[in-house]
Homo-oligomer: 348 residues x 2
């Protein structure tokens, strides 16, 4: 005897990423803006003039990856309770990737899920983190190991917010743009080689192109059963670097830049990437002053740390590798010895 539970509805809804189209937004519900101290000082008053709501509240969190934890999540949720948000209320994530991931996570949990909007203020969040609905927090076991898939109702990328971005953060965002180009679009990579993203028009073009790539990938594979994993190019190595340096030495995008170089060493060993192409990728990263080298103390310890990354099943690490420039290969069959050799070469 059994009963079928037939679910016809999808929880996720399609949405738009708007670029430089945020003039004013009106909602007939309560709205809670979630931001951090840095962004609040620079831009919160400005944003508040643009948002019209039944009630407009805000909660300001401390700034930094180390606050991407359960305590900050609880601050957001408590603000929801204190302001008695209901199921039709809306959260707005106003900040970088950390704010976006935590706000989306809180939105997915409050009363089993309410809507949220992303208004990313860093380049990295605009081109990558704000699109695709990955939410989460870090814990002692690693990064983003607890979270959900919860898509925003809309994303508003405003280039105005990028003007106050520190140079290092700007470059960290460029790393993710380069990531998209290397793994998915050779033409875009070549365009990046010949266009300076410090130019505002070029930057906007690159943001649009990166988001388009990401949206196409996410549309194919929302919950990362397959191709979406390619977006983790550089991240498998990068996460270990971030973890070993306690998230204090490198920005996420910087660790990813080094991670791409390490992944390229491995791709070269496997004959997937030529020395020339690896050199072109390295040159593009360096042009934006991104770090490309990390001193690995022990390749063995570094290797073991892969297994704490959630993308890895135990004893099977999934490597995302560039297959020339503009294509990719997912490999989970690479012998430990070859990975160790690649790590040693990257270290040289």
């Amino acid at each position: 005897m059994h009963v079928d539970v037939l679910l016809t509805k999808t929880i996720s809804k399609d949405y738009c990423v708007y670029i430089d189209q945020l003039e004013s937004l009106a909602f007939d519900t309560k709205v809670l803006i979630v931001t951090n101290t840095t962004v609040a000082d620079l831009h919160l008053a400005n944003l508040q003039t643009k948002i019209h709501a039944k009630e407009l509240h805000s909660v300001i969190l401390p700034d930094g990856e180390k606050y991407k934890n359960f305590e900050s999540l609880e601050l957001i949720l408590n603000a929801c309770f204190e302001h008695r948000l209901d199921r039709k209320s809306l959260l707005i994530a106003f900040g970088g990737g950390v704010i976006g991931d935590m706000t989306g996570f809180a939105a997915s949990l409050y009363q089993r899920g309410i809507d949220f909007i992303q208004i990313p203020t860093t380049l990295l969040a605009q081109v990558d983190a704000s699109v695709g609905g990955k939410t989460g927090i870090n814990n002692t076991y690693g990064k983003n190991l607890i979270g959900s898939f919860w898509q925003p109702r809309a994303v508003y990328c405003e280039s105005a917010f990028l003007k106050t971005l520190p140079k290092r953060e700007f470059s960290a965002g460029i790393a993710e743009i380069i990531k998209m180009a290397v793994t998915f679009d050779r033409g875009f990579f070549e365009w990046l080689e010949t266009h300076d993203l410090h130019d505002e028009t070029h930057l906007k073009e690159a943001i649009y192109k990166s988001i388009s790539i990401k949206a196409t990938v996410v549309a194919q594979d929302e919950t990362e059963q397959g191709i979406r994993a390619v977006l983790n190019y550089g991240h498998t190595f990068g996460h270990v670097i971030e973890n070993q340096t306690h998230y204090t030495t490198y920005l996420h995008g910087e660790a990813v830049a080094i991670g791409m170089v390490m992944a390229n060493c491995l791709a070269q060993k496997l004959g997937l990437l030529s020395q020339e192409d690896a050199g072109r990728i390295m040159a593009l990263l360096k042009r934006y002053d991104l770090p490309t080298h990390y001193a690995i103390h022990s390749p063995e310890v570094f290797y073991d740390a892969f297994f704490l990354d959630k993308k890895s099943e135990y004893s099977k690490i999934k490597f995302i590798l560039a297959k020339g420039i503009g294509a990719h290969e997912i490999r989970n069959d690479i012998p430990k010895e070859i990975v160790l050799e690649a790590l040693k070469e990257a270290n040289a």
Copy 2:
């Protein structure tokens, strides 16, 4: 300029509720059984002989609604990390509604979501809580205010586990069966009036019927935008009773039984339910020794407590009322005075 993010995939998958069909289950992944001290003592060894997995682990939580909190959730998640569960691993919820809701919640969060199976051991969990994918925990603001919609991969209801169920818990489950009948199926209600559920065959029939009703409702409205709210008949009142008595005096099903009687008082005042039908519902509840009266100290205080329930938007409480026996009406336009009068009458 904008980019469309088109999501074609649904996260929720259809699944089966099996009744008395659990012989043995084999998985080529890691499996973590989540249970509580009471169920573990009675049935865990038995269940372990039926589950074959790459690795079989278990985590045993303290028993009781008061442990449906973040600390217990963390115990489950930490067990997932300690046993290095990966994205293909499986959780098994083995217990009543509390274990089911928390295990489902943990499954939805671990690595942004892994599969879980429900093996409910209480009548209430079998007929109601284990089906439909509502997960969550309680906090100081109220019940199930933080959670997710996360559907199990399958549900196995075994009547063998009900044999060790205390009499009060058995009756609490009957309350939810009566709830389904009153709001959705007059024929089923009449059948309940003429069949004693202490008889094993009748009980199994009632379980099947209740799950079928629930599955039909959930299939129409997974995330409770409409008709699924009808399953909260008796719950709006019941949650206040549970909250005022600190979840210690009444089992959930008992509070729902009293809540149905209160809702019926209101339905009578509005001319939706006859005195005779209200009497039949009352008689059926009493037949299973369910409580039908709660001493309301202050109707005003009781009324205000509705607004802490997440189903209520501020200043608009949604009441689920029986419309005769076998049908329902959702109302959010009832003046406060009428509700207060109904509360006073229920108190008389």
